[in-house]
């Protein structure tokens, strides 16, 4: 789950990081009063709190010189979609004059199986851009997850991106705080970019934190619906997520349900290979029970792009009988709505599944190629 900038900054601040003075304004609140009560003096930066990438370039961040301007910019931001997302929150933050912008991030390196700290003296651009334009400027250090980021490592990283003296000490403290936020909040990513050098200290001008969805139960204070703010999802994807379905909208007309990301992607590949066009990716995951299958089938029956439905299941922990029950239940509840459904079933409990489907009048295929041909022709 992505956190908003103001949330990430407030976590950093909890761990002792100095962040720019700011005030958060909700849509409908009195922007001027809020700025005045917070004692903010211009110039300030008005920042849309949305979770889309490239918010700045899309017009979501404005530097203004007067309070009047701040108010009008904020009010306008509440009306303006940033990459399709209309902000419900705006952060008004003291502008911090600075010379240098650094890049810092912590992610988990899958191959090393360790957290890796990334830093560069060239902040302000995203990491892919730095990797393209200044690859030699990126310092990487793998961290022992049991000891955490040691003090000397934080200093070493700072030194390697060219810092020294008090700035280096400030950077090292910042990096240790960022690492604590990363681990204590189960971060997939903790990033500050740009991290400004202001005199002899560093101040995060932006901050991002993506929390591992699997660990959200440990952080109830971060809960809240951010699906729409993220700007990542289409209308039907939002609907699917609200129902707990792993669904990606595509442009074709063949609705796909499969189990496991690998097989679901392969089913898409297969449909294309035989001349069809997938309308979606829908992975019911491992061990789906009948009710989840029913929900998935029901969803595609309603999803207008899917003119026909291809269910391709190879059971392991998922059982054929549960899949069959789910399909039958969905059809009997929603009735016949004219979408052809082709089922291919193999693996664990496939005989029982096949029998249940047959009793409901559905013939399940064994061979996926035979099944996909049938779907494309249907």
């Amino acid at each position: 789950m992505k956190l908003f900038e103001y949330e990430a900054k407030s976590l950093l601040s909890k761990y002792g990081v100095e962040v720019p003075p700011s005030v958060l304004v909700r849509k409908g609140e009195d922007v001027r009063a809020k700025i005045r009560d917070a004692g903010l003096e211009p110039p300030v930066v008005v920042k849309a709190q949305v979770l889309v990438a490239g918010r700045g370039k899309a017009g979501g961040i404005k530097l203004v010189k007067t309070i009047d301007e701040a108010v009008s910019v904020a009010e306008k931001l509440f009306e303006t979609p940033i990459k399709g997302v209309i902000p419900r929150l705006v952060l008004i933050e003291k502008a911090i004059p600075h010379d240098t912008e650094l890049y810092t991030a912590i992610v988990i390196d899958r191959s090393e199986r360790r957290p890796v700290v990334l830093a560069s003296r060239y902040g302000g651009m995203d990491i892919e851009e730095i990797a393209r334009e200044k690859p030699e400027s990126i310092v990487r250090r793998f961290i022992d997850p049991y000891t955490g980021l040691k003090g000397y490592e934080a200093r070493l990283i700072g030194k390697k991106i060219g810092l020294s003296g008090k700035t280096l000490a400030s950077f090292a403290s910042f990096l240790q705080a960022l690492y604590r936020v990363f681990t204590e909040y189960d971060g997939e990513l903790a990033e500050s970019n740009p991290l400004a050098v202001v005199g002899d200290k560093v101040i995060p001008l932006d901050a991002r934190l993506i929390v591992d969805d699997n660990a959200l139960y440990r952080h109830p204070e971060l809960a809240g619906d951010r699906i729409e703010e993220s700007g990542e999802y289409t209308e039907w994807e939002v609907k699917a997520r609200r129902q707990g379905l792993t669904f990606v909208e595509l442009d074709g007309d063949i609705g796909i349900i499969s189990n496991g990301a690998g097989l679901t992607m392969t089913t898409m590949d297969l449909v294309l290979e035989y001349g069809g066009r997938p309308a979606n990716f829908l992975d019911i995951g491992g061990g789906a029970r009948a009710d989840l299958v029913k929900k998935a089938v029901g969803f595609l029956l309603e999803y207008p792009k899917a003119k026909k439905i291809f269910i391709n299941i190879f059971g392991g922990i998922t059982r054929g009988d549960e899949v069959a029950k789910g399909i039958v239940a969905a059809l009997s509840e929603l009735g016949e709505i004219g979408k052809p459904i082709i089922v291919r079933l193999a693996g664990t409990n496939e005989e029982e599944g096949r029998r249940i489907l047959k009793e409901a009048g559905i013939e399940a295929y064994t061979d996926p190629i035979e099944a996909v041909r049938k779907v494309v022709e249907a």
Binding site: R110, A131, L250, A261, T264, G347
Partner: protein, 291 residues
């Protein structure tokens, strides 16, 4: 001989009294796997399909000192603790089926197990099978048959699909490993390749990858360095997936130029590995290699 699991495998099922634990204990027993004990805290003294249940790994190992492998069906919140318990009890292989374990926990227990010489498969994986010998996992046993082609795969169901296609074409398997789909897993492609390279029974290897991450690129680099002499056929799922969308667990946050279908295929091909366009092309490519 087979790698990871074989005739000498003696299994303890952690979370044996749960729905999946109990169901797959039965399927493993039916397959001929020697499941010697189960563990569920608070359920000691029960039996599940004739397998005695203990409260702790310590008691299970005391009663069954021949146990060397554990398979974990424990719910995500308690799975990491179960892994530590298995490692501390001296298991040489721990197969973690559980899905949804926080990545910071996997990160820790994977490092912990490694420093103590325990091999972890998973988490979020279908397990390992050496057809005809033993199955430690949830893979549907009937789609496999004994032979000398190994499969290593990031995707469970795709593994079954490919094994099934090989089997139907008369090509048996030595060992099939579903390495798991989580961002951090105990055994990667390169580590699995190292084991297979030393396995007498494996003559050829099928590698089933996915878009995202750089594990396939690392495997390719390993082959390029000459560390794998056995022939490999690969398939990468996600050729037609639109870029920038996360397809389930596929896709890394910071890609640094790796992780695309094209990049992976180029890396593999430049290492001399045949890449199948569709999984159903694999049996033919493997048969060509073996003749």
């Amino acid at each position: 001989m087979a790698i990871l699991v074989g005739e000498d495998t003696r299994v303890i099922v952690q979370g044996i009294t749960g729905r999946e634990g109990s169901f797959h204990t039965r399927l493993m027993l039916e397959y001929g796997t020697k499941v010697v004990a189960g563990v569920t805290p608070g359920k000691g003294g029960m039996e599940v399909h004739g397998v005695p249940v203990y409260d702790t790994m310590e008691e299970a190992v005391e009663a069954h000192p021949e146990a060397n492998t554990s398979i974990i069906f424990v719910p995500a919140r308690f799975a990491a603790d179960a892994v530590y318990e298995a490692v501390d009890a001296g298991m040489r292989l721990v197969v973690v089926i559980t899905e949804g374990i926080p990545v910071h926990e996997s990160l820790r227990f994977v490092n912990y197990a490694k420093s103590r010489g325990t091999t972890i498969i998973g988490p979020n994986c279908p397990g390992v099978i050496s057809p005809g010998k033993a199955k430690v996992g949830i893979l549907p046993g009937h789609v496999f048959k004994p032979g000398n082609v190994a499969i290593i795969s990031r995707s469970g169901t795709l593994t079954y699909e490919v094994a099934y296609a090989l089997t139907k074409n008369g090509i048996g398997q030595s060992t099939v490993i579903g390495i798991g789909g989580d961002p951090v897993i105990g055994t990667s492609f390169t580590e699995a390749l190292k084991l297979l390279e030393e396995d007498d029974e494996t003559k050829a290897i099928v590698l089933l990858g996915e878009i995202g991450g750089d594990m396939e690129e690392r495997a390719a680099a390993m082959v390029k360095r000459g560390e794998v002499s056995k022939p490999i056929v690969a398939f990468i799922a996600g050729r037609t997936a639109p870029p920038g969308k996360r397809m389930g667990h596929a896709g890394a946050i910071i890609m640094m130029g790796t992780g695309t279908y094209k990049g992976k295929v180029e890396a593999l091909e430049s290492a001399g590995i045949k890449v199948a366009r569709m999984p159903f092309d694999i049996p033919k490519l493997v048969a060509d290699l073996l003749t």
